[in-house]
């Protein structure tokens, strides 16, 4: 009796830490959501209203005033294209690194990872020129191309460790049965590396969806702008004293919903991916 009471007391600091952590993490999310679904007049009343009358008015206003549907479509297209392209490119390279003997493959892997250390912003000017030359600036293809390149090294790294975990015997048997390389990659290895691919797919989707630098730097026409660019334009389009916070937060909520759903559905998988390459 007294023992369990003691245990309860000793876990009080733990629960205080848990509650504090929860509040700190969720406070900005609550504030954003509360403001996105509120009438603009309810946001500028004192004392503050914690739970204003919910409304979808702000989303309707966004649809009217900016090509909101188009931005959403571009964001989705960009994120999906990038995710898919990154997985294909990385999967091929990861297979080579995991399974094929090649002198210096360790050094090549190291060089690939080293390019991750270069700050993205450091290459922005030449990339701008390259995309112009290739007629890919101001396009979803151009943004996806650059994003795919940035996300590839980490994806290769994690996928290598996923492929190495697959027992080689399965491929061995297939090879003896006369399977070709594409058959091995597609029919044999792909089904068993699905968890790794899903994990990296989610992580890459989140990264591509969240990216601001490239679309902000390389796009000028509405058809190539993503939601991340849209939110900066809505913010910048108004005077400092009359920011339409209800609209800014509505875009913010729109950008947050897909990533939060992914997190809620696949917390374990994401953690495995984020730590997959580093810690085993």
């Amino acid at each position: 009796m007294s023992h369990s009471w003691r245990r309860t007391v000793s876990s009080i600091p733990l629960y205080i830490a848990f509650i504090l952590f929860t509040i700190l993490v969720l406070l900005p999310v609550y504030w954003m959501t509360r403001s996105a679904f509120a009438a603009s007049t309810d946001l500028i009343k004192l004392p503050l209203i914690y739970f204003p009358q919910p409304t979808l008015q702000n989303f309707a206003t966004l649809m009217e005033q900016v090509p909101f549907g188009l931005y959403l479509r571009t964001s989705l297209l960009c994120a999906f294209t990038t995710t898919l392209a990154t997985l294909v490119v990385s999967y091929l390279a990861a297979y080579a690194f995991a399974r094929i003997q090649f002198p210096g493959s360790g050094v090549l892997m190291w060089i690939l990872l080293l390019t991750m250390a270069l700050p993205d912003i450091g290459t922005i000017v030449p990339l701008y020129q390259i995309l112009k030359t290739l007629h890919l600036s101001d396009s979803i293809a151009g943004i996806s191309l650059i994003l795919t390149s940035t996300l590839t090294p980490f994806t290769v790294w994690v996928l290598v460790s996923f492929i190495k975990q697959v027992p080689y015997e399965i491929e061995e048997a297939a090879i003896l049965d006369g399977a070709s390389l594409p058959q091995i990659l597609w029919h044999i290895l792909l089904p068993v590396t699905v968890p790794g691919l899903v994990t990296m797919g989610i992580i890459n989707f989140v990264n591509a969806w969240n990216n601001l630098l490239y679309p902000l730097s390389f796009t000028t026409s509405p058809s190539a702008k993503t939601l991340s660019v849209a939110i900066t334009e809505i913010y910048a389009g108004y005077s400092p004293w009359g920011k339409p916070w209800e609209l800014i937060m509505a875009v913010g909520v729109t950008m947050t919903i897909p990533v939060v759903i992914l997190v809620l559905l696949s917390q374990r998988s994401i953690v495995r991916g984020l730590t997959g390459g580093a810690i085993k």
């Binding site: 733990l14 004192l46 390019t115 270069l118 290459t123 900066t232 990533v259």
Partner: protein, 313 residues
């Protein structure tokens, strides 16, 4: 197509037990090169080449608007000395990356300890811990800007209710700087926690058992066992964090856009301003080179630290 089985001997498992579908080793090498070619071509054209081009452009006065493009030696670097924006940004960048990295590690460690404990709500805590990582940085920037708004933001409202004071954050340089650093920690410490937690869970349980038998308290076990054992990982992550914060520009863009004045401007934001907004490609590239030099310095210091911290168990 004839198939020859070719199992190399005396080589480590997994990487090398390759059964070649071709007769020759050369064929196998070709296959390797073909498979890694897309990844390397991408990195070559959009990372390696642009970096070299950036270094070259740093010596020119390439300007898209003035239409100049001459080799001017070190003039860009000389001009930085008198450029208030760059000088302010350099100072704040260094403070920013050091403080945010230390905060990330400390807060990340605290969160990792919480997520490593056993309590009701653990799964919930681990799940919401991913939200700051997943939320777009620019959105986090604006959400905090609004949360801290001096008129209708929640936190200043609470401060006013409790103390009667009216905090005004974004027009005070020091307050704005502290805010940028704290919000950056909010965004990135949870990710650090995930990595540190994985590191903690990788420590063999029998080490803790042995320490318990020897009478070590929880406090001692943490400082004498956990900390030294995850030190190499902590340093590695600290280095990555330093380098990543150097290139980080979204948060400052959303939260303060470098203001008030240039108090919270970072070099990454200066590159964006000079290069993308003002089309001064040469000057922006020179600032990028400063960033690259900082990356190199961090790398060298980091490797040295890493060598010193390695422990075996």
């Amino acid at each position: 197509m004839a198939k020859a089985i070719d199992i190399p001997e005396n080589t480590p498992a997994t990487t090398s037990r390759w059964i070649s579908v071709s007769r020759t080793t050369r064929r196998r090498y070709l296959l390797f090169i073909l498979l890694i070619a897309p990844a390397f071509l991408l990195r070559l054209t959009t990372a390696a080449y642009p970096i070299l081009q950036t270094i070259y452009l740093g010596f020119t006065n390439l300007d898209f608007l003035k239409r100049t493009n001459d080799f001017i030696g070190l003039n860009n670097y000389m001009a930085m000395g008198s450029n208030i924006g760059v000088r302010g940004a350099t100072a704040f960048t260094i403070v920013f990356i050091l403080t945010t990295t230390i905060l990330d590690l400390v807060i990340g460690m605290l969160i990792a300890l919480l997520l490593n404990a056993n309590f009701r709500g653990l799964t919930f805590a681990r799940t919401i811990n991913l939200i700051p990582w997943a939320i777009p940085t620019i959105v986090a920037g604006y959400a905090f800007r609004w949360l801290l708004d001096d008129q209708f933001g929640l936190l200043p409202f609470w401060v006013t209710e409790l103390t009667g004071l009216r905090p005004v954050i974004f027009i005070n340089p020091l307050a704005a700087q502290i805010t940028v650093i704290l919000v950056h920690a909010w965004k990135d410490a949870p990710f650090m926690a995930i990595i540190l937690l994985a590191g903690m869970q990788g420590i063999p349980e029998d080490l803790y058992d042995a320490a318990r038998v020897d009478g070590a308290s929880a406090w001692q076990r943490f400082w004498r066992l956990t900390v030294p054992l995850i030190m190499p990982l902590t340093i590695t992550m600290g280095l990555f964090r330093l380098v990543w914060s150097l290139g980080s520009f979204d948060l400052v863009y959303g939260l303060t856009f470098g203001g008030p004045g240039v108090a919270t401007s970072v070099l990454a934001l200066q590159v964006f301003r000079e290069g993308i907004l003002f089309f001064k490609f040469g000057f922006a590239s020179a600032i990028s080179v400063i960033l690259l030099i900082l990356v190199a310095v961090i790398g060298v210091v980091g490797l040295w630290l890493f060598r010193k911290s390695e422990v075996t168990y």
